[in-house]
């Protein structure tokens, strides 16, 4: 039987996974400030988990969400409260908190059945504001706007104390997320999502219940966002409403746009790209720019993000992942010109 996908070369997957887990050792050998880079990578990893979930919803199912920072916050707060106040073991919270976040996904998914495009974007954005208010209002558990101290991740007797430990925890999560999400999108579930995105009529005509699958998509997306939230809360040890700004939701959208909408690897690449750009490239660019004029990173950050998004939408709508596929095909077919392969 022939494989269905050109990239279903399973050999590369263990190699890639091994590379991910060897990277910290490499960084350590290379630089003294490796722990800073690990921290940046950890943030990227947490965002990868979230953007993969967001991509399932917005990229695959075509339901835009500007409220994913809220799901992220729910997962973070739920786990912080369940573990630190409810005494739930972290191992269980790692499963329960995301599932509960998924239920919140269902709550917001319900109005989504009647809303499309921009209106859905606004509704989910409103959800973001509501969640923020709720967190402040539920002072008893969340400490309101004071923010909440969170315990370290603790799995089967091992406590993850610093960025080095956290890296292995987070990237195990990333690998799991990517594998599960890839499996999902290649199954009946993923086909149903994509059919809903591209043709609701065709979807209904083959027997897909639109409402059910849209809800499932919101649920799954919520679960991933919640999972990311749990990891974020326990690895950063402090969460507050300021962490989960509406702008963060917008950055998540930029990440999947840049990575390539409707592709799991794209979401991963997008999160990595934006986080590295934000933390490493923009400061360098700022320092260079400051030899001419006085600017601050934040001033050019929005400008660069906006510009990048604009350029990707115009020139590279399939995102970084699409670019990679193109390059790969180009080298495979070299010297024959492989134009129009993906046009």
């Amino acid at each position: 039987m022939k494989g269905r996908y050109e990239d279903e070369k399973l050999f590369w997957i263990p190699v890639l996974i091994a590379a991910v887990f060897l990277l910290p050792f490499l960084l350590k050998g290379m630089t003294n400030s490796y722990r800073y880079y690990l921290y940046v990578l950890n943030i990227a990893g947490i965002y990868m988990i979230l953007t993969v979930g967001l991509d399932l919803l917005s990229g695959y199912t075509g339901l835009i969400s500007l409220g994913h920072a809220a799901f992220f916050a729910i997962g973070a707060y739920l786990s912080a409260i369940l573990v630190d106040q409810g005494g739930l073991p972290f191992e269980l919270s790692l499963i329960i908190a995301p599932l509960l976040t998924g239920l919140f996904g269902l709550v917001i998914g319900f109005p989504a059945l009647r809303l499309e495009g921009m209106y859905l974007g606004l509704a989910t954005m409103g959800f973001g504001f509501i969640v923020k208010r709720m967190i402040i209002a539920l002072r008893q558990w969340t400490q309101g706007s004071n923010g909440l101290q969170v315990s370290s991740p603790h799995i089967f007797g091992f406590t993850f104390r610093n960025d080095w430990d956290n890296y292995f925890l987070i990237y195990t999560g990333v690998v799991l997320t990517v594998v599960i999400a890839r499996r999902m999108v290649r199954s009946k579930l993923g086909r149903a999502f994509m059919a809903i995105r591209d043709s609701e009529r065709a979807a209904e005509a083959v027997g897909i219940r639109l409402a059910k699958y849209k809800m499932i998509s919101f649920f799954i997306s919520g679960v991933f966002a919640g999972f990311a939230g749990v990891l974020f809360a326990h690895t950063s040890h402090f969460i507050s409403t300021d962490h989960f700004d509406i702008l963060l939701s917008v950055y998540f959208i930029i990440m999947i746009l840049v990575g390539g909408v409707g592709s799991i690897y794209g979401a991963v690449l997008g999160a990595l790209f934006i986080v590295l750009l934000d933390n490493l490239a923009i400061p360098l660019f700022k320092d260079w720019l400051q030899t001419f004029i006085t600017v601050e990173a934040g001033d050019i950050q929005s400008l660069i993000f906006g510009l990048i998004m604009f350029l990707f939408i115009i020139f590279q709508p399939t995102g970084l992942y699409g670019l990679w596929l193109k390059v790969r095909i180009y080298w495979k077919l070299f010297p024959f010109n492989p134009r129009k392969r993906f046009s």
Partner: protein
């Protein structure tokens, strides 16, 4: 198993390397002390992000021109957190790991400062004078945070005591921002309510709100004769103008973030008589701190880019505290000796009311001076109250 082995191996190597390097304190050489400052350079408070470090640099330059501290000149790196706690963490890690600063100083904001507490504890690095007056920074005691400013909760107590001294029968209203700032103000209000057996009429608003007619209307109906504003700069201006337009003229008072000359300018006649709490001498007063500040400003600053004012004075004042602690730590400057110096600092520099830090108290003097707008200018109207 192999992974575990190599993990253990690498950890041991790291420990050995760590031990070998122990004599070297990060950020300290024979000629320099490197400190890290995290400001909001491009977010909602970016104006302060420039003024606070600029004020601090006036004093650092003065010290450096005198030959520094035991021959070491002070150099300050400023990172941007855009008022986002996650970015504050990233900035702190960068300063500590990449730039190898000796200590952190003046991180602005409450949630941003709180977000980096786990890092301070992990690296055992002190944060001197976080730029926030939230009482939560030093109560309960944070091992690595040393606060120079009097907390909002203490300020609230002083303001309410003051009002009741002026007018026994005062009915006090409070408008607070519904976030961690407001929460700390409410804590102080609750303490004062219990002491005086009174009840404040409380109205809240969301950060960024620009319409206060509902809150002001409620206070007017409730008959508040004194209204305390736990806002930043914009809110007292709008609130006082709204009240004036409604023909409601209570005595307005505010916490330290409203102690801004722009309130007097922008509110115009409606702002006349406005009283704000201040945790340091007023920058244009005759206390020794402000006098030195103005002298250094004359000497080093270009008034076009750095005007005299409360924020650059605040940066200057905290710098005097930092320098004093660095001096006390002695010639052999390490993080341990610095922490020891901080834990026993007896500050009498005149830029803040005198205070003492001990192993169990990293808070300020708890004192406040009241500043009133008279003829459009701010003047101190009280002694140090606590």
């Amino acid at each position: 198993m192999k992974l575990k082995m190599s993990l253990v191996g690498i950890t041991i190597t790291l420990l050995l390397v760590g031990c070998a390097k122990k004599e070297l304190t990060p950020g300290v050489t024979d000629t320099e002390i490197l400190i890290g400052n995290i400001q909001d350079l491009s977010g909602p408070m970016k104006e302060l992000g420039y003024l606070l470090p600029a004020g601090a640099n006036l004093y650092f330059q003065y010290i450096n021109d005198q030959g520094g501290i035991y021959g070491r000149k002070i150099r300050m790196l400023v990172e941007d957190h855009q008022y986002n706690p996650q970015k504050a963490v990233a900035a702190a890690k960068k300063l500590i790991e990449k730039d190898q600063v000796f200590c952190l100083y003046q991180v602005i904001g409450t949630s941003t400062s709180e977000a980096i507490i786990p890092i301070l504890e992990e690296y055992k690095i002190p944060l001197v004078a976080p730029a926030t007056q939230s009482g939560t920074m030093s109560r309960p005691l944070r091992r690595y945070i040393f606060q120079t400013d009097t907390g909002y909760d203490k300020q609230m107590n002083v303001l309410i005591d003051y009002i009741l001294r002026q007018d026994k029968n005062a009915r006090i209203g409070l408008i607070y921002q519904d976030d961690n700032y407001g929460a700390n103000a409410l804590k102080g209000a609750a303490e004062a309510e219990a002491r005086h057996k009174i009840t404040l009429q409380k109205e809240s608003y969301q950060r960024g709100a620009s319409d206060f007619s509902g809150q002001v209307g409620n206070l007017m109906k409730g008959g508040a004769t004194h209204v305390i504003i736990a806002g930043i700069v914009r809110e007292p201006i709008i609130i006082m103008k709204t009240a004036a337009a409604m023909g409601y003229r209570p005595q307005f008072l505010g916490l330290s973030p409203t102690m801004d000359h722009r309130v007097a300018i922008a509110a115009g006649p409606a702002g006349e008589g406005y009283i704000a709490a201040n945790f340091a001498p007023l920058w244009n007063s005759d206390a020794p701190g402000p006098v030195l500040y103005r002298k250094l400003h004359d000497k080093y600053a270009d008034p076009k880019t750095l005007p005299l004012g409360m924020y650059s004075y605040y940066g200057f004042a905290t710098a005097t505290v930092l320098v004093e602690a660095l001096k006390n730590a002695g010639k052999d400057l390490t993080r341990a000796s610095f922490l020891q110096a901080l834990n026993s600092l007896d500050y009498k520099g005149g830029s803040f009311p005198d205070f003492k830090w001990t192993r169990t108290n990293h808070g300020s003097s708890g004192k406040v001076v009241l500043v009133q707008v008279k003829n459009g200018k701010q003047v101190e109207i009280s002694d140090w109250l606590d």
